[in-house]
Amino acid sequence: MSATADGAAGEPLLRTQELQKNFGGVKAVSEISFDVPMGAIFAVIGPNGAGKSTLINLISGVYRPDAGSLSFDGVDLSTMPAHLRVRFGIARTFQKIRLFRQLTALDNVIAGFHVHHKIPAWQYLVHGAAFTADRRRCRDQAMQLLEFVGMSGRAHVPAGSLSYGEQRMLELARALATKPRLLLIDEPAAGLNAAEVDGLLDRIRSLRHGGTTVILVEHNMDLVMNVADRIMVMEYGRRLFEGTPAEVQKNPAVIAAYLGGELL
């Protein structure tokens, strides 16, 4: 187990308590409590319909919880709208890709700098030195992010024309533009080939080295075993088990419910 995942050392970055979300009669997320330590890669796995994406939507603010609470770095998030959570340092990608399809890859990333512009109000109408500097800075940083995800050659291609794998990587770059402390990645490997998945894992690891905490929701068990410090297994909206990858692999309940014949 990695030293960075030592949650006991201090206050966790994200803490959820008895989180609950219902859709009609379906308890999509039910009594979920967990702590994500600062600097960890925390994976959430489970079969389809286990409530993983609902959990991401609760943390990012797309949904409000019906019960329970969640706090980020000591700040209560329960009623905070999604756009404000970004200012506190929470960013996300989407399971079903939601890029600005008509904008170029570069402009998609630049849009991610929304909360970081340093331009005096009047310079929005009369573009001065601070405006030009901000534009150049955003453009340079956006190019760096595209380079980070291996897409600097595709900067001027409209997002809608990119390949599926490229779109996933672009979503990652766009989310990183908000300079998150906590990055929520929702099923990033869906639709990627093996080489693309490897590239993705490398990036997630280097993000953690840069100090970003990651919550990784994934369907693919093999992928998270390689990269995660802690894994929470969900089933039917509930927490089945939480522990290190080794503990998850050995846990009989998890094997019975989810891994099944895969490991045996």
Partner: protein
Amino acid sequence: MSETVFAQQWLGKATSSRARFLGYLTAVAVIVTLPLVFNDTYWRTNLTVCAINVLLAIGLDFILGYAGQLNLGHSAFYGLGAYVSTLLIVKLAVPFWLAFVAGVAFAGLAGTFLSLFAVRLRGHYLAIASLGFAVIVHQILLNWISLTQGPLGIYGIAPPPALVVDGTVIADFRNLTAFFYLVAGFALLSFLLLSQLVRSPVGETLTAIREDEVSAASLGINAAAWKVFAFGVGSAIAGAAGCFYASFVGTLVPDAFFITEAFNILAMVIVGGMGTLIGPVFGAVLLTILPEVLRGLGDLRLVVYGAALTFVVLFIPGGMAQAANAVGERLWRRRSA
């Protein structure tokens, strides 16, 4: 895909700061020259109507083309600007430019007020709400007879006071050319400011909201607040157009601001090309001049006008801006080949 990249490259060239400066220089030259070329009263009147419509079109484009809000009630803000400024001048003897500011502010606030409620609505629902708002405003103008004189209208509205410096008359706005310069100058200034705004992060923010609100929120964008902002700015510009209209025509009747006017403005934006600022300028000019040019055809002109509109929507959905881009791209490719 490669075609889009070519277009982007060409647009990139065309929108360099030097090209923009030349563009504005050309615009000034065209504005100065137009009333000298068209020197009869009929065409000079049309020129000013063009300039007023350009204001309406770029204001609506900011709301519709950039923020993506389907506003079918732009005529309401136009009418509110016209009536508020005129009533202040006629009933309370408020000086013209003060009434102008009040008309612009009132229209802008009305847009803000409407959008505060309407931001929760999207697409068809927003369209219906804004259309309903335009119907209500028109009905109020028509039926609040003690204030607006209803269908009888308000007559004899004075043009703006002459511009006098040191006892010398610089511009007398009873003169059609001077009035055209005033409105066209204001339209050019509005265009310049909007253009600055949409090339700033505000443009990216509004476009992001237009493309995907959930995604925008995940980047920290408060979509509701920015939609209200876009509505406020766009409707304030319509208010300015209304003030100019009233003092230009000298007569106000509610039917000038019936919902058909909202659809006229919408047609200008669509024919010109939504989401570009320059497109709706040409859209406004074309759809103002075309009916006048076709006047010789009698009732047939409406058929031709309708057919032209249908043609654009069916075959060039991006409007004149798209057509110009396609031509420019072809030229660019030929030159670089």
